[in-house]
C-alpha cells in the first residue's frame, strides 16, 4: 500500500528521518467505491427543546443523543465513559428525568425537553447542586461530575429533603474512579438545605514557636524551629494557623468549569477538519504478523489515512534487538496490541475502515497464566533477555538482571543477614499472599488529538505528564522538543497509567501527518482495559523473626508477579522501610505473560506489599498477645528516635484510635452473630520524590492580575488551587481565585509530572519562590508611590500597605502604577534544603467491616484515615484524595480483578459492568484526620497524598475481616466465595 515518495510530503521536518514507511495519504478523489460499506441510512431532521431553546438538528437514526450533543452540537459536557449504560457519566434530563445519553437515540427525542449539564445553571446563577458540589469539593478529575450533578439535580426536583440514603441511591448508577461519592452525598444534603456531618478533622491548629527558622516536627506534639532557610529562599512560613489562605479548606478554583461541563478534556477537543481514528488490534495474544492489506480500507470514501505500526512504545524491549531484526512488523505479544490505525471523516467510517484492514497472522503458542509462564516449557513472551528503559515518566526496570524463560530477576535488596536473624528469633512467622491484576480504569480513556502542521506538532493528550509526552513524541518523530506542544488542560483520571503519549499517540500523529489534518484517537473502553496499563499481580512469600517482645530480628520478602509484557510487578519498598529490622532481604522477579502492559498504579508495589506485611504484623501481634496497634508502636521505630515520619505515625495511631474507637475492638472471631463485625488497622508509607523538572513563571500584570505558568497539569487533585493558594498567600491577595493558572501546556516552563505524589513536592515551593521574587519586583516598582522603600511595604488581604498601618491601597490600584506592563519571575526547583534526604510520608487507616457469614459478603462500614502530607495546602482537596485512596483500596480489596480467558488470552471483563469498580452504595463512611508535619525541606514543605492514601486500605480491610471472622484471607480480591471457603476450611 505504501508509496515512500509520499513521505516527502511530510511537513516541517527538514532533516528528520522518518521510520514509518507505511503511512499513506489518501485523496478522496483517488479513493474508489468502498467494498463492504455499511449502507448509510437517511439523515432526519428532529426538533427538540435543548436547554430551554428550540433546536432543530439533522441526525442519522443511529446517532445516540450523546453523540449528537458532543459531535454535532459541540456540547461536550456530557461525557461518554462505559458506552453501554453501566456508568451514567452521560446523564442528561429528558423531560426532567435523568436518563443516559449513550443509550438514547437522538431521533426518539423529537419534541422532548432535554437539559444537559450546560443548561442547568440559569445564566451565571449556578444550580444549588452545582454550587454545593463546588463548596463540598464533590469532584476530583471532574469527568464523572456532569453526570453526577445531573443525577443529583434530578433527585432534588422529586425530593426536596433527601436523606443520605436517597442521595446514594440517586447516584447508585454513577461510577466515579477518583472516589467522590462521599462528597457528592454531602453536596446533595447541602443543596437541599441540610447540614452534612463533619468528616474532616485538622489535627491541630497550633501556632509555631517564635523564630525565623524553618519548621520541624508535627504540629500539636513536637514542633520546633530549625535553622533559617538558605540564602535566597523566602522566610519560613509559620504553621497553617498563621497563614491567611494556605491550609484553609478552599473550594477549587476550576470547580465552576467542572460542574458546568465547561472544562475541556482531551476527549472533548474538536478541531476544524478533525478526523476520527480507530485502531486495528491483534486478535491473537502471540503471533507474527505476516501481512497487512490496507487497500480496502484506503478505498473507502472518507478514509484519509492509514498507518501500520512499526514500533510499540509499551512494555519491555529485547536487550539484543537483533533478535527480531528483519521483521517488518512488531511481534504481537498480547491480544489487543495495536497493528494499524485508520483516520476517516466520521467515527462510523473509521470503524468500518478498521474492519476492512486485513491482517494475516501466524499465531504462536501463548501463556496468560502466571504460574504456567514460570515453567520451563512455557511459551516465551520474549525470545531473549529484556530491559525496560525509563520512558515516559516510568522508572523502568533495574538494568541487567538475569532472565530465564519468562522470568526476569530476581532483583535483590538486602541488609544484614536474614538467615542469622531468623535463627536468633524466638518467634518465626511466614505467610503467602496473592494480589490480582487491577486495571486503572480512568473514566476518560487514553486519547489524543494530534495536529501536525508545517510549523510544529500540537497534541492534546490525556496525560499526567505533558513533558514526558512531549519527549516521547519528539524522540519518535525526531523533532526538536521545541516544535512539539502538548496540551492537557483537564484530564479525566490517570492514576499512573498516563505518563506519555503512548503508541496510540504515535499512531495519531502519523495519521495527522499523512492526512494533513488533526486526528482524534481515543481508546474505547475495552481497549482501555486491555492495553492501557494495570497494576500487576503479585505472589509474595514473607518470613519474619521476632524476639519475645516483638522486636523484629529478620524480615524477608520473596515475590514474583506479572505485568504482562512489562516489568514492574514488585512489591515495592514497603517492607524494606517501614519497620526497623537489622536483617532484611527482598527478592523480586517479573514473570512475563502474553497480557497487556502494566503501568505505574497509585503507589505501585506498596499497595501489594502492605497487604502482605500488615497482615503478617497483625498475626505477630496475636501470637504475642499484644494489641496490633501497640505492636506497631513498638516496631515503628528507627535509628533516629525523632525520625519525623515515625513521629507523625505515632500521633496518627493515637488520634485515629481515639476517633475510631479502637478500644472497643473484640477478640478475633468472637462476634457470635451471623453478620459479624470486625475492625482492623494498617499503616502506610510512601517516599518523598523530588522532580527537579519543576519550574514556573509568576507574572503580575499592570491591571493587577496575577498568573502562574507551568507545564504541570492538574490530574484532579486540585494542583491548580493549591498553587493559586501559595501564590495568593505570598502576594497577599484576597483569595486563590485572584490567581489565573495557565498550566498543562508545554509552552510554559517545564513542570513535574502528576504522579508519585510528587507534584506539589516539586512545584509548590517553586511557585512560592517565583511569587516571592515577583513580590520583590512589584514592591520595587511601586514603592515610589508610597514614598517609602520597598522593604517598608507589605502585601496583605489584597492590599499594599506601609508596614504597621492598618489600611492600605488595593493591590489592583497600586499595580496600575507599575512602570512595566508586566513583570515576570521565574523559579526552578533546587534540591531540598540540605540535599534530598531519603524521606517519606504516610498515615494510618482504621477500617470496620461486616462479614455476612452466610453469603461471604464483606462490607466496609467505616474507615478513619489519618494522614500527613507535609504542609496540607488545601485540606479540602487533600480530604478528597484521601477519600479516593480509601475507595480505590476497598474496590481493590473486594471487587476488582482482571480476568483473562486461558483459551483465548482475551480479557473477559473489559467493560464497566463486568469489571467491578466500587459504587456509591458500596462506599463506607470515611473520616479523615490530617496532620501538619514539617521536615523543613523547602519554602512550602508540601508533599503529595494520592499514594499514601491508597496503601493501607486493603490491608486494614483484610485485618478487619480477620478480626470479624477469625480467619485470614491472604488473597485478593476477597470475594464472597473466598470468604466462605476460608470459613469452611476453618471449621473443618
Amino acid at each position: 500500500m505504501s508509496d515512500p515518495s509520499q513521505l516527502s510530503r511530510r511537513g516541517f521536518l527538514g532533516g528528520a528521518s522518518v521510520t514509518a514507511a507505511t503511512s499513506a495519504l489518501l485523496d478522496s478523489a483517488a479513493a474508489h467505491a468502498a467494498s463492504g460499506a455499511e449502507p448509510v441510512s437517511g439523515a432526519t431532521p428532529i426538533t427538540l427543546t435543548l436547554n430551554g431553546a428550540k433546536k432543530t438538528l439533522t441526525v442519522e437514526p443511529r446517532t445516540t443523543l450523546a453523540a449528537a450533543l458532543r459531535d454535532s452540537l459541540g456540547l461536550t459536557g456530557t461525557k461518554v465513559v462505559c458506552d453501554r449504560g453501566a456508568c451514567s457519566a452521560c446523564t442528561v434530563h429528558v423531560d426532567g428525568t435523568p436518563m443516559l445519553g449513550c443509550t438514547l437515540l437522538a431521533i426518539e427525542l423529537e419534541g422532548r425537553k432535554i437539559v444537559t449539564i450546560e443548561g442547568l445553571a440559569k445564566g451565571d446563577a449556578l444550580h444549588p447542586v452545582q454550587q454545593a458540589f463546588i463548596e463540598q469539593d464533590a469532584m476530583q478529575c471532574g469527568f464523572c461530575t456532569p453526570g453526577m450533578v445531573m443525577s443529583c439535580a434530578g433527585l432534588l426536583t422529586k425530593n426536596k429533603k433527601p436523606t443520605e440514603a436517597d442521595a446514594r441511591d440517586a447516584i447508585a448508577g454513577n461510577l466515579c474512579r477518583c472516589g467522590t461519592y462521599p462528597k457528592v452525598v454531602a453536596a446533595v444534603l447541602q443543596a437541599s438545605g441540610q447540614k452534612p456531618p463533619p468528616t474532616l478533622e485538622l489535627a491541630s491548629t497550633a501556632l509555631a514557636p517564635d523564630g525565623q527558622g524553618r519548621l520541624l516536627g508535627v504540629v500539636g506534639t513536637s514542633l520546633s524551629r530549625g535553622e533559617a532557610p538558605p540564602a535566597g529562599e523566602p522566610q519560613a512560613w509559620g504553621t497553617n494557623a498563621q497563614l491567611r489562605l494556605v491550609g484553609k479548606p478552599t473550594p477549587r478554583i476550576d470547580g465552576r468549569q467542572k460542574v458546568t461541563g465547561a472544562a475541556r478534556y482531551t476527549a472533548d477537543v474538536r478541531l476544524p477538519g478533525m478526523l476520527y481514528a480507530r485502531r486495528v488490534v491483534s486478535v491473537h495474544p502471540h503471533a507474527k504478523v505476516k501481512s497487512i492489506d490496507t487497500s480496502a480500507a484506503e478505498a473507502l470514501p472518507g478514509v484519509k489515512a492509514v498507518h501500520v505500526v512499526e514500533r510499540t512504545l509499551e512494555g519491555a524491549k529485547l536487550r539484543d534487538p537483533s533478535q527480531v531484526k528483519g521483521e517488518r512488523y512488531p511481534t504481537i505479544r498480547y491480544a489487543g496490541q495495536a497493528v494499524a490505525a485508520v483516520a476517516a471523516t466520521t467515527p462510523e467510517l473509521a470503524d468500518q475502515a478498521a474492519r476492512l484492514v486485513k491482517v494475516e497472522y501466524e499465531p504462536l503458542p501463548f501463556t496468560v497464566d502466571l504460574e504456567e509462564a514460570r515453567g520451563a516449557s512455557a511459551p516465551l513472551v520474549f525470545p531473549g533477555p529484556t530491559e525496560q528503559p525509563p520512558t515516559a515518566g516510568g522508572g523502568g526496570a533495574p538494568k541487567g538482571l538475569p532472565q530465564k524463560g519468562n522470568v526476569r530477576g530476581p532483583d535483590v535488596k538486602s541488609r544484614g543477614d536474614v538467615k542469622k536473624g531468623l535463627a536468633e528469633a524466638k518467634l518465626k512467622l511466614s505467610g503467602d499472599y496473592r494480589t490480582q491484576v487491577q486495571t486503572h480504569t480512568p473514566l476518560e480513556a487514553h486519547g489524543v488529538v494530534a495536529d501536525w502542521r508545517d510549523d510544529g506538532l500540537t497534541v492534546y493528550v490525556s496525560t499526567q505528564s505533558t513533558a514526558s509526552a512531549r519527549n516521547e513524541l519528539a524522540t519518535v518523530f525526531e523533532l526538536d522538543a521545541g516544535k512539539v506542544r502538548i496540551i492537557s488542560e483537564f484530564m479525566g483520571g490517570g492514576f499512573g497509567a498516563k505518563f506519555g503519549a503512548g503508541t496510540y499517540g504515535v499512531l495519531a500523529t502519523h495519521l495527522s501527518r499523512a492526512a494533513k489534518a488533526p486526528v482524534r484517537l481515543v481508546l474505547d473502553r475495552e481497549e482501555e482495559h486491555v492495553s492501557a496499563g494495570n497494576r500487576p499481580a503479585t505472589v509474595q512469600h514473607l518470613e519474619l523473626g521476632a524476639t519475645e517482645n516483638g522486636t523484629l530480628t529478620a524480615l524477608s520478602v520473596q515475590s514474583y508477579g506479572t505485568g504482562g509484557v512489562s516489568t514492574g510487578s514488585g512489591a515495592g519498598f514497603f517492607a524494606e522501610r517501614l519497620y526497623a529490622t537489622p536483617n532484611f532481604r527482598s527478592e523480586h522477579s517479573d514473570v512475563f505473560t502474553h497480557a497487556g502492559p502494566a503501568a505505574a498504579f497509585r503507589a505501585p508495589g506498596n499497595v501489594q506489599g502492605a497487604f502482605a506485611l500488615e497482615q503478617l504484623i497483625d498475626e505477630l501481634a496475636e501470637k504475642l498477645g499484644v494489641d496490633p496497634l501497640e505492636l506497631r508502636e513498638r516496631l515503628d521505630v528507627g535509628e533516629d528516635p525523632r525520625d519525623p515520619q515515625r513521629e507523625a505515625r505515632r500521633l496518627e495511631r493515637k488520634l485515629g484510635a481515639e476517633r475510631f474507637g479502637w478500644a472497643r475492638r473484640k477478640a478475633p472471631g468472637s462476634d457470635g452473630a451471623v453478620v459479624k463485625r470486625g475492625v482492623g488497622v494498617a499503616q502506610s508509607l510512601w517516599g518523598r520524590f523530588v522532580d527537579m523538572d519543576s519550574s514556573c513563571d509568576v507574572r503580575i500584570n499592570r491591571d493587577g492580575s496575577v498568573e502562574l505558568l507551568s507545564s504541570v497539569m492538574d490530574i484532579g487533585t486540585g494542583t491548580r488551587t493549591a498553587l493559586a493558594l501559595v501564590v495568593a498567600e505570598e502576594l497577599g491577595l484576597a483569595s486563590a481565585a485572584d490567581v489565573t493558572l495557565r498550566i498543562g501546556d508545554t509552552h510554559h516552563p517545564v513542570g513535574p509530572s502528576s504522579g508519585g505524589s510528587k507534584t506539589l513536592v516539586g512545584v509548590a515551593s517553586v511557585a512560592r519562590n517565583a511569587a516571592a521574587d515577583a513580590r520583590q519586583q512589584f514592591l520595587a516598582e511601586v514603592a515610589g508611590g508610597f514614598g517609602v522603600p520597598a522593604t517598608a511595604l507589605e502585601l496583605v488581604n489584597g492590599e499594599v500597605r506601609k508596614q504597621g498601618e492598618p489600611k492600605g491601597k488595593p493591590f489592583k490600584k497600586v499595580a496600575a502604577g507599575m512602570k512595566r506592563e508586566q513583570l515576570t519571575a521565574h523559579a526552578q526547583r533546587k534540591d531540598d534544603y540540605g540535599g534530598n534526604p531519603k524521606s517519606g510520608y504516610g498515615g494510618v487507616q482504621f477500617a470496620e467491616v461486616s462479614v455476612d457469614t452466610e453469603t461471604g459478603v464483606v462490607k466496609v462500614e467505616r474507615v478513619v484515615a489519618v494522614h500527613d502530607c507535609g504542609r496540607p495546602l488545601n485540606p479540602l482537596a487533600v480530604q478528597s484524595q484521601v477519600n479516593g485512596g480509601v475507595i480505590h483500596g476497598i474496590s481493590f480489596a473486594l471487587f476488582e480483578e482482571r480476568r483473562l480467558d486461558p483459551r483465548s488470552g482475551r480479557m473477559l471483563n473489559a467493560n464497566l459492568d463486568q469489571y467491578k469498580v466500587l459504587g456509591s452504595r458500596d462506599t463506607p463512611h470515611i473520616e479523615t484526620v490530617l496532620l501538619e508535619h514539617y521536615q523543613g525541606l523547602t519554602s512550602v514543605d508540601a508533599n503529595g497524598i494520592g499514594e499514601p492514601a491508597n496503601i493501607a486500605t486493603a490491608a486494614a480491610v483484610a485485618n478487619a475481616v480477620y478480626n470479624a471472622v477469625g480467619v485470614r484471607l491472604r488473597e485478593l480480591p476477597m470475594t464472597p466465595r473466598a470468604v466462605l471457603t476460608a470459613l469452611k476450611g476453618a471449621r473443618s
Partner: protein, 330 residues
Amino acid sequence: MLTLPPFQFHSPKSVAEALTLLEAHGAKAKLHAGGTDLVPNMKHRLFTPEHVIGLRDVAELHRIGERDGALAIGSMVTLADLARDERVRAIFPSLSSAAAQVAGPQLREMGTLGGNLALDTRCVYYNQTYFWRKALGYCLKKDGTVCHVVKGGQKCVAAASNDTAPVLLSLGATVRLQSPRGSRELPLDQFYVADGIRNTVLEPDELITEVRVLLPQGRLVTGYQKLRLRASIDYPALTVAVAAWLEKDGTAQWIRMVISALGARPHAVKRIEHLFGKPLDAAAIDELGQAAYKQCHPLTNINVDPGWRRLMIPVFVRRAWQQALAPGPQ
C-alpha cells in the same frame, strides 16, 4: 465511542401502527422499548436490524390499572413507574422490589416492563464488542457454532437476567402478545423457553402489549431476593422470587418459587406441592431451599463464581421467605 450500525427508525403512535410496521418489516425489525438492552447490544453488533420500531409514543401501552379482577400493566410502563406505583407496592411488593433493583436509577426511568420481560439473555462470551467476539470465533448464540461455556455444548446457556420475570412467574402472570396475525395471551411460564439463543416464544412480528396479574383473593405474601456483587448496577447473579397464598391459620394454600439468573430461563421450582396446606415454618422453608438447590446448576455464563451462586440458593430462598412472611409492610 462505539458506533451503531445503520437502520431506519419508526415511531408508531398506536399499537395498530406498530403492527403494520411489524407486518412490513418483521424479521428485519427490532422493537425498541427503553433501548437500554437493545442499544448496547447493537453497538456490539449483536443485532443489526434494518428497522427499529420505537414504542415510546404508543400511549396505550403506558397504562396501568385494574381490569377484570387483574392488574393490567402496559408493556411500556417504565420500571421506575412500576416500582413507584402504590397499588403494586401494596399488593405485589415483590414486583415493586424487583423493578426497583434493576440496574441503576437512570436505566429504570428508561427501561420498561415489556423490555425487561423480553430482555436478551446474557453471557460473558456474548455481551462483548464485535471485535472481541470475532477474536474468539464468535459463539453459538451469535454468528458462531461453538459454546465457550459448555465444551461441546449445543444449547445456549446464556443467563436470563431480568428481575421482573421470576417475580411475575411467581405471581402467575400472563402476557398478551399481538402480531399482525392476531393476539394471544400466554401464561408467563409458557413464554420462556430453555434456549439462550431465543429464550422466549415471541415471534419476530410479535409485540408484548400487556402483563396481567390476578388480584389476590386472600392473603398473598411475596418476596424477592437478588444476589449481585455490588449493591447497584450489576445484573443479578441469582434471583429468588417467592409467593404464597396463606390461610388464616398461616398454612400455605399454594406456594410458588422461581429461581432465575442462572440459566436461559427462569426456573419454577418443582415438586413442592406436598408442602401446600402446611405451615410455612422453618423446616418447610429449609425444604424449599433444598429443593431449589437440587434443581439448579449454574454455569460459568457470567463472571461470577457458579459454585457460589449455587450455594446461595438455599440462603436466598430462606431470606425471600423471611421477607415474605415478615409482619408489616414490606
